[in-house]
Every structure is written in C-alpha cells, then in structure tokens.
Amino acid sequence: MAIDVTTLSTTRRRFLKGTGAALAASATSGLCLPALAQAQEITIISNLSNVGQRDILHRLAAEYEAKSGAKITINNMDHEAHKTAIRSYLVVGAPDICFWFSGNRMKAFVNKSLFDDISDLFARENYKSVLGATTNAVTVGDKQYGLPMGGLLWGLFYRKDVFAEHNWTPPKTWTDFLAFGDAAKSAGMVPMSMGTKELWPAGGWFDHMNLRINGLDKHIALMDGKVQYTDPMLTPVFDKWNDLIKAGFFSPNHSSFGWEQAGAALAQKKAAMMDLGGFVRSAFPEADIPQLAYAPFPEVATGVARYEDFSVNSVHVPTNAKNKQGARDFLAYFYKPENLGAFLAAEGAIPPRNDCPPSKDPLVNAAVEELKKVVGTSQYYDRDTDPDMAQEGMTGLQEFMVKPERRDQILERLEKTRKRIFG
C-alpha cells in the first residue's frame, strides 16, 4: 500500500487540478488555466435579460473568435443576481469584461480601484469624437473607466389610439397636467400608472419633479449629499406632488405591484400615461407596440431649462482581469458602430455613438430627437446617489406616496440618513 501512495496521490492531485480548472473555466472565468492559454482567452460576464441582445453578443463573440483566434467565454447571469455577485467577483475571480452601469454606480468601483482605466482604448479608437457628452457618464477625473452602452430616456409614455379617441394631447404645463388628470379620470382611467413594489418608480417621479422645479445642479447637489432633505427647496416639490396624490393621479394600491403590471395597465387602456423608460414596451403585446408614444414630463415651474433622467448602461474591464489587452481588442470590435447598433436595437436603447446606423424603432428615434432638446441629464435616483441613501430614500418616497401626511417625519428620517452617509 505504502509504495503506491505517491503515484496515487500525484494522479489524484492532477485529476483534481484538471477537474478544478475545467469547472472554473465553465463556471466562472478560467482562473486556473495555465498562463499560455490565458493569452488567448477572453471571459465575459453578462447580465443581459434581453434574449435578442444575448444572441447578438454570442454572434459577435463567435465572429471575433473566427477572426482573431481568441477563445471567448460568455457567462450569463440573472440581471438582479448580478448586482450582488459583481461585488465579489471583481475582488476574487474577475472576468475580462463585465456589464454594469455608468455614473455613480461605476464610480463606487472606480474609487476602490476595481475597474481598469481604459482611456488608452478611448484614445486609440478615437471614441471621444463620436461619443460627445456621453463620455462624461464613464469619466472619473478625466479618465475613462468604461464604454457607454445604450441609454434610456425617461418620460411619459402613452397610447396614441387612446389619445386620439379622447382628443387628448400630451400635457405641456402644470395647468395642462392637472386638467389632463381630470379628463383621464372622467374617462374612467387612472391618469398615471404607477407600480412601486420595486421602489424605483417612486424615485423616478421624484427626479422628474425635482428636475422640473429645482433644475439639474440643485438636484445633483442633493444626490451628492450636499443639500439637506429638509431644505426648503424641496417644499414645492412635495407640495405639488401631494396635489397630484390628493387628486388621485396614481394607481390605487401601487405598492402591491411592480412596474410590469403597471405597464400592462397602460397597455390595457386602464391608465392614460406612465412615467418610465423605453423598456415599457416589454409590457405591451407585440401588436400594440406601434401605438406606444413618448412625451416629455410636463413643465412644472416656469423658466426652468429642460433636464431629463437619461441612464446609461456600460461595459467595463475589471482591474483584476487576466487578459486586459484581449478585452480591449474585443471591446473595440464589439463597439464598432454596426455591431453596437445591432446590439442596442434589440433592447430599444439609444446608441451612445452618433455614427450608429439609424434605428428602425420610431420610439428610439423619437427619444434621440427629444434628447437633442435636453439641456442636461442626470442618471436616475438610485444611480445618482449613494446606494445606502438610495435604498432609504426610495422607501421614504414610496411611503410619501401612500401616506403623504407623514412628509415631515419621512424627510427628517432621510436627513438623518444623509447625515450618517455624507457627514
């Protein structure tokens, strides 16, 4: 027995090593592969919930493999699960490329040196000339840490046939807005479809009200924790919002259901409008999508320039990636106008590059046109502020929508949280 032990253990060890490497390669990122293979290996973790986009990513990867001889492994993750998993895999077992969100969500990882500075790729491919202002979404201190993907322009969505039938036009001013609410209610519809189970739709409504009343700079100052939640500048925001709640603008029991059910109510003509991004289309039956139209959130305080929530997704190279050069080369291929255009068309998002082929989707084209009239953009409540603050804030905003009489307590609680986080 004793003689056999050495040979046995080496084979066993070798066996374990081999299995471990195979497992790691298939499960996460190919950490255990020998250095030689890594040079040709690119691993991607994607969080794409859209099947069309996943298919295009796989097609592009296959094309690139054939062209360059590199081996690309794509691991798809559930969108929500990815939000928690990324925090661990960026530290241990990073892929070469991963999907994430720009703005504050990206900054959190940049500050911890978990995303690689890809300014060199920007310079090499001359991205700044085609990206324009979107570059800001992935820039921290003059350096770029990601490539902006599709953008989502937030606003009010409605059905053209419903509006034609009632002879309505999208409200442009606050007076219009209140009158529109009355008209919708007398037509037996909920003026604004709302589902706050996931909290963020309440955050988005707050964004719109605050951007329309206080403008972008003050809004961002609040998001950065520089303005107190008890500041008098927020009084008109909550006053006006309260007027809408009292007037029955929003779906009853909105905390019971999510945005998808709220979107379905819009599709079923039970609600007149809904505040969301272009992905509201996924709550619509295929045949009804052509009826969907976009209108900007109405003006609230006169004289405030038009600012909008425009959230940008992005793709990044982790600092701990094994094959940073390979990642850059693949990204350059992936980011070619025709490839990126096809990828984003599947989602209905607005391309960040101005040289992408024009979209066949009228909703995207309308958003692109609207975006030209916008003076400045923020991301979205939970993407602009600290995640801890966002969680507390969105809960408070949901509570306000149900119990507006608790406004003062809610704002004091938020102020306490703001002080704890931002000092």
Partner: protein, 294 residues
C-alpha cells in the same frame, strides 16, 4: 494496525463517521457565525477595508425604528405560526382515520410541503392581488372590494405570515402523523379495556404519547417563524415602505442593497442571540422532560 483497530474501533468508528459532518458544521456554521459577530463590530461595505467601530452598529440598531418594526413583525410571525402545531395535530387526527379515500385527502394536505416556499409566496401574492386575486373574487361575490392586504402597512405582515402558515401546518401534520403511527398499541388496548373512548382516549392516552413530537413541532415552528425571509422577499420585499420586514430580511437588505455588511451582521447577531436563547430554553425543557420520564 489491525490490532490497534480492533482495540479502538468501538470509539473510532463513530468518531470517523462523525468527522466529515463535524468539519463541515464547524466550517460552515460555527466559523461563519463567529465571523459574523466579528464583522458586526466593523464598518464594512463588503469590498474595501474593515474599520473597527466596536459596538457602534449595535448602538445605532438600538435607535433604528426599522429594527423595532422588524422585531415586532418577527413576534407577529411567531404568534401566527403558533397556530400551526394545534391545527397540524387536528388535521393529523382527522386524516389518520381508516376511511376510503383518506390517502388522497392526506396527500392533498401534504402538497404545500412539497412546494418551495418561494412558490407558495408567489401563489399567495396572486391570491391577494387586489384587482384579479382569488380574495377579490370572493369579495366580489358579495359585492364588496377586497382590501389590498400587501399594500397596507397594518395587514401586510399578517397576510404574509398567514401564507407562510400554510406549509407550516402541513409540516406539523406530517410530524404528528408519524407520531400517531408510533403510538404504543398496548397502552391503547389497556385504555380500551378500562373503557376509555373518544375524547378521553385522546386526552389521557394519545396526547401524552405525542408530547415529544409536539415539542419538536413547536421548536421547528418557532425557528421557522424567526428565520422567515423568503416569503417576505417574494411577496412584499419588506414593503410597503419597510412595514413588513423581518430581522432576516432587514439584514439582507442592509448588507446587499445598502452595502452595510457590518450593520447587517449586527442584525444577524441579534437574531442569532434570540434563536440561541430559544434553543437553550428548548433543550433545557427537553432534558427535564427526559429526566422526569426516566
């Protein structure tokens, strides 16, 4: 070697068989518990450096109104779940009869136990749906409107815990059914000879023999109520505005969404202490009962 083995096998065999379990238990449960307590003494976002803050997380917890909401909800869960053992026992007694078709009935009562709790949560979410749910259909029959249970801060926890009660009753029923199968025939026969029937038989002969099972049913139910998480996550995500959170869910939310692992660990530690206190009390009772039997 063989002689050594022969001489020591009476204690080595069980030791070797227990070893893998012990190693796993100490790694996965014990070490993780100690690490949680350790983390709860730090300010940590899950990635960066841990900063020692001593008991600051606990001090903040003591002042956190959300913590008391969670604690209160855990107690509501506990109270509602306490219905499971008696109802389970009643069902077990009913379906334990030798009647044709009883097997089908038995398996129907058993069904909720087969479903994942998440599934139960989703299904009950539909039942409670204020527009299309079963509840609304029932209210609609009488011309009424069902309350939106999951949107109401006063009812959300009751509604979720009631949904959680369903599989728990089935679980208790199965425990008691097993207990009923193990009844001592001699005692029942002796009871019959003495003229005990129906209620008297149940009260003085059957129930005393089920006391051990009852004890287990209560213990499992209490722990089930305290660690409730998945139903809350699926049905309300702690909402509306945090009114239906429980300690386990608040811990998850603080750690995963707010990136406050130290604070989350402090909540976990509090929950851990509550459970330990309960388990100590339970073991104490168990040992006492065994001593008095012996």
């Amino acid at each position: 070697m063989p002689r050594f083995w022969r001489r020591n096998r009476h204690w080595m065999t069980p030791a070797l068989l227990l070893l893998p379990g012990l190693i796993l238990f100490s790694l996965v449960i014990l070490a993780a518990s100690f690490e949680t307590v350790w983390i709860s003494l730090h300010d940590w976002d899950g990635i960066g450096a841990k900063t020692w803050v001593g008991l600051a997380n606990y001090v903040e917890l003591a002042e956190d109104p959300q913590f008391y909401v969670s604690l209160k909800n855990n107690i509501i869960w506990l109270l509602i779940f306490m219905l499971a053992p008696p109802i389970g026992l009643a069902l077990a007694l009913i379906v334990n009869q030798q009647i044709r078709g009883m097997r089908i009935l038995k398996s129907l009562f058993f069904v909720p136990l087969v479903l994942a709790t998440v599934t139960v949560g989703v299904v009950f979410g539909w039942v409670y749906d204020p527009t299309y749910g079963l509840l609304q259909l029932i209210f609609g029959l009488f011309g009424g409107t069902a309350p939106a249970l999951l949107s109401d801060e006063n009812f959300a926890t009751l509604a979720v815990a009631t949904a959680g009660l369903w599989p728990q009753i089935a679980f208790c029923m199965v425990l008691f059914l097993a207990g009923l199968n193990n009844l001592n025939e001699d005692l029942i026969g002796a009871g019959r000879v003495d003229g005990a029937r129906g209620w008297q038989m149940l009260r003085h002969v059957v129930l005393p023999q089920l006391s051990q099972v009852g004890f287990i049913a209560i213990a499992v139910t209490v722990i089930g109520a305290l660690r409730s998480f998945d139903m809350v996550a699926v049905m309300t995500t702690g909402g509306p505005y945090g009114s239906s959170t429980v300690l386990a869910y608040q811990m998850y939310e603080e750690s995963i969404f707010s990136y406050r692992f130290g604070y989350g660990a402090a909540i976990a530690t509090v929950l851990f202490v509550i459970m330990i206190a309960f388990i100590a009390w339970y073991l104490h009772g168990l040992i006492k009962a065994e001593r008095s039997n012996a």
